[in-house]
């Protein structure tokens, strides 16, 4: 007999959601987390989009430690001198559903408590080394030579899946799988944030992604700014591949260049940096998704490569929660059948295929090539800068038609026109 029905490794949104779902349905669950308290090792941008959490904690919007509700969503291209933006605000966005800005240390601690209250055993400060096997069946986890047994193990390790790698169930990560995430928490008074970002109330927030086409050495990176109650989350997601090709720019210097940009600096003026953090970010799309289940185990969340980014939005926690719940449901079904084989747990992947988790990743196959393309990082910012300069400046010369301005702007960009057309086509198809 196993000591637990299920052991969940990692108390982030994916692992905690799985544990809550299982425990509330009567399964015996051990939730193991290496950080003590839970959340103290976890980093996210972060905005929690959507309502995935609603299916395990129906009243989460009233009780979870959320920062601000996103009422304004931006996407900007930054060149050295300019900012070209969409700043979308709509009462209709609020009627539908956007997301909440969150701070993971608070959120994950709250989620771990919810798991405990639901009946799960939570063990913080414990590092699992690898899965324990009997023949080719996973029978639990191993920590410092001790084995704790369970019928099923759900791996929710996050973007750096050491247990899965150590256990030989997934390959080591490579450049195309990940990006380097760096982030600062910048303290500002609540009122200043509300006013500075033109928000309608202190409960409302701003979230924006930035394409940074001006960084030293041409390194490609995306930036983000999210408003919390009394702080701003500001950070960068830097392509590992680009960093390697450049091999001249330091990841920790790039965040300063973003902060010093003429149209970013005023947003954080007077703010005090209260924390610096860094973590790998899953960026590889469907190509980076490993085998998701096997005899006695399932992989969920970032550790499974579940994140979505198309340059306009950047999401992960909603995929984490939905995949954690799907794995919990499959574990429960396996328990009823008393069958914890690979075949039995394959229902996990079926669940994901019928949900947004795998559908998004499959439908947007190859999106990462667009997100990191020259077109996005150089073509669009430079062409639009040139175009808007000719449209909005007035130098007493006869005006040209928009079309002629556009053609001239394209001609002045570094990207060859032939590549531009192909890339534009690919981009529109994939986005």
């Amino acid at each position: 007999m196993s000591e637990f029905d299920v052991i969940v490794v990692g108390a982030g949104p994916a692992g905690a959601s799985a544990a809550i779902k299982l425990a509330t349905s009567g399964s015996s669950v051990l939730l193991v987390e290496r950080g003590d308290p839970p959340g103290s090792k976890n980093v996210s941008g972060g905005v929690l989009w959507g309502d995935s959490m609603g299916s395990v904690i129906p009243d989460w919007e009233k009780t979870a430690p959320m920062e601000r509700y996103v009422e304004a969503k931006g996407v900007s291209f930054l060149t050295k001198d300019s900012k070209i933006s969409i700043d979308f605000r709509s009462r209709k966005l609020q009627e539908r559903r956007s997301g909440y800005t969150v701070l993971r240390t608070k959120l994950d601690q709250w989620l771990a408590k919810k798991a405990k209250d639901s009946g799960a055993m939570v063990a913080a400060g414990i590092t699992v080394d690898k899965l324990a096997f009997k023949a080719d069946q996973v029978i639990g986890v191993e920590q410092d030579g001790d084995v704790i047994t369970s019928d099923v193990v759900i791996l929710a390790e996050g973007a750096n899946p050491r247990v899965a790698i150590n256990s030989g169930i997934r390959e080591k990560l490579v450049d195309r799988d990940v990006a380097i995430g760096v982030k600062e928490i910048i303290k500002l008074p609540e009122k200043t944030i509300t006013e500075r970002f033109n928000l309608t109330s202190p409960k409302m927030g701003f979230a924006s992604e930035y394409v940074l086409g001006f960084l030293d050495g041409g390194v490609k990176a995306g930036g983000f700014i999210y408003t919390n109650k009394e702080s701003i989350s500001l950070g960068l997601v830097i392509s590992m591949k680009e960093m390697r090709e450049n091999n001249n720019t330091r990841s920790f210097d790039l965040i300063e260049q973003f902060k010093e940009h003429p149209y970013i600096a005023p947003l954080i003026e007077g703010g005090r940096v209260d924390e610096y953090s860094a973590h790998m970010v899953q960026e590889g799309g469907i190509k980076s998704v490993p085998q998701l289940y096997g005899n006695g185990y399932m992989i969920v969340g970032d550790g499974a490569g579940f994140s979505f980014s198309n340059g306009m939005v950047l999401q992960g926690m909603n995929y984490a929660i939905a995949s954690g719940i799907a794995a919990a449901e499959s574990a429960m079904k396996a328990k009823i059948k008393s069958n914890f084989s690979k075949g039995s747990l394959s229902s996990y992947e079926e669940r994901l295929k019928s949900s947004f988790v795998l559908q998004d990743l499959m439908n947007f196959k190859g999106i990462e090539d667009v997100t990191w393309s020259d077109m996005i990082h150089r073509g669009i910012p430079n062409i639009s800068e040139e175009l808007f300069l000719s449209l909005f400046s007035e130098n007493g010369q006869p005006k040209k038609h928009l079309y002629n301005n556009l053609i001239r702007s394209i001609g002045s960009s570094e990207v060859p026109r032939k590549d531009m057309i192909i890339n534009m086509y690919r981009m529109l198809r994939r986005m």
Partner: protein, 90 residues
């Protein structure tokens, strides 16, 4: 803001008895790129008189160096017993 000042904002519970990441100096000695010194966001890797120096104490456990080092020098493990970085916000 210098990286040293940023790192000084962090809380660590340093494990004096276990270095969770180790490097193989003989591999680093002949390394043609030292990409780790550019990739690591916590400046744990630096060249001092052309010799690679690694400080595990400043590590924020992001995992970057394990992917960055393509020469097999980095042996990466998780910290144990709740040691290592402790974020306030995350």
């Amino acid at each position: 803001m210098k990286i040293e000042d940023r790192l000084s904002l962090l809380n660590y519970k340093t494990d004096k008895s276990y270095e969770h990441i180790t490097i193989n100096p003989s591999i680093c000695e002949t390394c043609p790129d030292h990409f780790c010194t550019f990739a690591c966001p916590a400046k744990c890797y630096s060249l001092i008189e052309e010799k690679l120096n690694f400080k595990y104490e400043d590590c924020v456990e992001c995992g970057t160096c394990d992917v960055a080092c393509s020469h097999g020098s980095v042996a990466w493990t998780n910290t144990k017993g709740g040691h290592g970085v402790k974020y306030k916000y995350g």
